[in-house]
Amino acid sequence: MLEVTDLQVAYTRGDQRSIAVRKITFDVPTGTTVGLVGESGSGKSTVALSVMRLIRPPIGVIESGSIRLAGSDLLKLDKAKMRKVLHEDIGYIPQDPAAALDPLCPIGKHVDETLSAKVPRSERRQAIVTLLESLGVRNAADRLGSYPHEFSGGMKQRVAIATALAREPKLIIADEPTTALDVTTQLGILRLLDRLRKDRGLSMLFVTHDLSVARMLCQHVVVMYAGRVVEKGPTEEVINHPRHPYTRALVGAIPHMGAAPRTRLRAIAGQQPVAGMITVGCPFAPRCPLASDKCRRENPKLERYGDAMAACWHVEN
């Protein structure tokens, strides 16, 4: 459904240019959820924004590559066509639904906005109610006139999801949609998203920093580090047999239920380099326990190992 090829994005400040996303390639097959996993600053959100063409000069430039949605290259569309694609083909689920809903706009209207061009006026109300109810908003008919502040965080997120789904888009982009919610609500929203994928055959690009969330929801994961893809493949494969030392460290950092009390959580030493800082060698080398001279000199390419791909000189298969 979505194919991203050799995408490179740079942010500019003054005449400084820092590459936030460096030649990355991945795809989202129809009917699957692909998780884009990485630390803050790894470029994962930039990728999501690029797909929606929200990276704009003078702040940022999409320097090269192609983003194909159902065959057509989004980067080659003119503004009007891109708007049509955004309106019809892409649904976006925001990180913080509280900020993403207009406080002066009743929730019914939010959903109505996306639906308006497609469904005739007489049927629209019923369509909105049905959609909201199917997403777990009870008594939706009575609540269309309510304002966002009258809803809880989880309910707001359901409204936002309804807005994203109303046009039955080809692709859903979710940028950490559960980060702003509390843990029990998170679980509800994740289950809802997974059900939607199964029932409606949705394709979804799911941005998260939480591997355990990705494991619940995603069929494939793409692990990003400092603007590069370091490992990608089927979720089970990547999590159970991580090839890249960074992925291994990430998996190791997931807290376990039933760990002995007072066990230290395992963190990765050091900090991720600022976007574009490392130009020579593997970006993970400064923090990597396996780093050798070769790692610091030459940047490893993605190589295929079984079903997955990883970019590291030290993969033993």
């Binding site: 929606m52 929200l54 708007r83 049509k84 694609v85 955004l86 309106h87 019809e88 892409i90 976006y92 925001p94 913080d96 900020a99 993403a100 809903l101 207009d102 406080p103 002066l104 706009c105 906005e113 996306t114 304002y147 502040h149 936002a160 807005t163």
Partner: protein, 298 residues
């Protein structure tokens, strides 16, 4: 030492709270009070000239400087007469029409221009923003009275010209304040959401930006109602406002100040009416602002 400041706070807290309470009573009843005041004045402006006991511009030098009813006057001139023997009550009623006409028209015109400039400037940004904002700065920096004198000497003094002059100077403060709101709204995530859902510029401005700045616009507008009435007064004072002998509150206040020692009623009645209008419209604005916010929390 550690306890000292908190005790102070406690002791000081009592009178402060009491003060707040009395103020809150005024605030919660604001719509009733200010609505009544404004309604009476507006009705006076509309129907006043019909019920006025005298012709507001008729000169009667034999009965000049008559005191008002309770201060030695009689029912013929309930609020007294001015130096030319014109009935103050009739002139107040006639002046209400002029003053409110000027105030509401000025606020409407300058508010609309200001909103338009602010939204275009703030949302489009870049060169457009720079040009429009320098224009706004220039307008704000330019002395309104000077502009008024120039325009009045070219086009002559008339009620229409007063409105044009005040609107020409008034839009800039709306543009300034609302532009900054637009700038912060523009970066709100719900605007990005609308872009992501394929909303165009005009749609986003109409659907999300304008409704969200309306409460500020209303507050500014109600403040400007008072300011416009006062400005009309100072223009009339300079002889470039509503041309005499037509009555306006500002003009009456200005004339009356010459007679303050011998005939206080000439300045006091229009002055009180002006103050009440300004107070009422400001309270109304405050109340509208807090009640136009759907969260009702502010």
């Amino acid at each position: 030492m550690g306890i000292q400041p908190s005790t102070d706070l406690l002791l000081e807290g009592v009178p402060v709270a009491a003060e707040r309470r009395s103020f809150r009573i005024l605030k919660t009843h604001a719509p009733i009070f200010s609505g009544t005041v404004l309604l009476i004045f507006v009705l006076a402006g509309i129907f006043g000239p019909l019920v006025a006991p005298h012709d507001p511009v008729r000169i009667d030098l034999q009965h000049n400087l008559q005191p008002p009813l309770l201060f030695g006057g009689n029912w013929t001139y309930p609020l007294g007469t001015d130096s030319l023997g014109r009935d103050v009550l009739s002139r107040m009623l006639g002046g209400a029409r002029v003053s409110f006409l000027v105030a509401f028209t000025v606020v409407f015109i300058s508010g609309s221009i200001g909103l338009l400039v602010a939204v275009v400037s703030g949302y489009v940004g870049g060169v457009v923003d720079a040009v429009l904002m320098r224009l706004t700065d220039a307008t704000l920096a330019f002395p309104l009275i000077l502009l008024a004198i120039v325009l009045a000497s070219i086009f002559g003094a008339s009620t229409k010209n007063v409105i044009i002059i005040l609107a020409a100077g008034g839009w800039a403060s709306y543009a300034r304040v609302i532009r900054s709101e637009v700038l912060s709204l523009k970066n709100h995530e719900f605007v990005s959401m609308s872009i992501v859902m394929g909303g165009g510029r005009v749609w986003i401005i109409g659907r999300h930006i304008i409704p969200n700045v309306l409460s500020s616009l209303v507050v500014l507008a109600t403040l400007q109602v008072g300011a416009a009435i006062l400005s009309e007064g100072s223009l009339s004072f300079l002889g470039i406002g509503v041309p005499p002998p037509n009555p306006s509150w500002g003009g009456m206040l200005a004339n009356g100040s010459d007679y303050l020692t011998v005939a206080w009623w000439l300045a006091v009645f229009p002055g009180v009416a002006l103050s009440l209008t300004v107070l009422a419209s400001n309270l109304m604005g405050d109340w509208l602002r807090s009640h136009s916010d759907p969260t009702g929390m502010r």
